[in-house]
Symmetry: C2
Subunit: 185 residues, 2 copies
């Protein structure tokens, strides 16, 4: 079955495609750019975009939204992580966290899936802490300042496959795969 992934990111398509191929899904990239709403949660943002897509095409698809949430900063940068990265960067986060001992943070990803009739959402979370200094060259975004729970390395110090195995995005896809498997049986 053909399943559109609404995203501008080829790497995400490849990652999800490999996982969903096992279930007989062919994941194809769709470059459609739905608007993203200003909202409190990733679920709201993802569902708003997904509804916009459905108004234009009812063929099954999914899309994903992710964010970095720092507890001491009341969840900032949260749903606006991309914008904040483009302006003050992870350096800005480190400046805001200077000398703070409460450093817990998490990455979240939410997939909104339209099966042709209704929506389903799948959420992946990875908890951890904000590092004191940026470390590592891999990944992107806030990866150099995030140390996942049970690790000493930042996401940017891990290989892509190591990160995908525990990442918020990997976990959201895993939930979606489990749900699709269950649905088939």
């Amino acid at each position: 079955m053909r399943l559109r992934f609404i995203t501008g990111n080829k790497n995400k398509v490849r990652e999800a495609g490999e996982r969903l191929a096992e279930l007989g899904y062919e994941v194809v990239q769709d470059n459609m750019k739905p608007p993203e709403v200003q909202a409190d949660t990733l679920e709201e943002v993802a569902l708003f975009s997904a509804k916009w897509v459905v108004e234009r095409s009812q063929e099954p698809f999914f899309l994903e939204d992710a964010g970095f949430f720092v507890d001491y900063l009341k969840g900032f940068p949260g749903v606006y992580s991309a914008y904040v990265f483009d302006t003050i960067g992870y350096g800005g986060i480190l400046r805001l966290m200077r000398c703070k001992t409460e450093r817990s943070a998490r990455f979240e990803a939410v997939i909104a899936y339209w099966d042709g009739r209704e929506f389903h959402t799948f959420k992946g979370v990875v908890k951890g802490t904000v590092s004191r200094n940026p470390r590592g060259e891999n990944g992107f975004g806030y990866d150099p300042i995030f140390i996942p729970e049970g690790e000493e390395r930042t996401f940017a110090e891990m290989s892509a496959s190591e990160k995908n195995a525990i990442s918020h995005r990997g976990r959201a896809i895993e939930k979606m795969v489990r749900w699709l498997k269950k649905k088939e049986t």
Copy 2:
């Protein structure tokens, strides 16, 4: 003529109402809550919301969106000023600006006005600098850390009428009033 102002803020309605009454407009508050899109400019955000309103009611209205733009921070917090205020606050802006000498900033407000047939936008800008420390008790939001050009006081150290005379919002309303006057003649 009856003119809806789509906002949750009574003070804004009063301020605009006084100015527009001179032209024979009766400004009434409409609590409708249109979605706000994630976008690069206030114009885009305001027009997206305005289009959403028009899809539901064609009666004339206007709405307004405002933001605080710090040059050294590449325009941050910009269109997400409200969210950033609710999370890291103006204290966060001051922490990000600590020891920086380049402190220029501006407030912008954009009014999107629907006259029953088409959209018009009116933009007001007030330039100034980010203060070293918060000062003053008046106003709201980033007012305690913004010193408008030609002033030594922050917005929060001015009376409401002093601020309205030079503020971004006051200037956007003034542009709208001038345009409406011209249209009548």
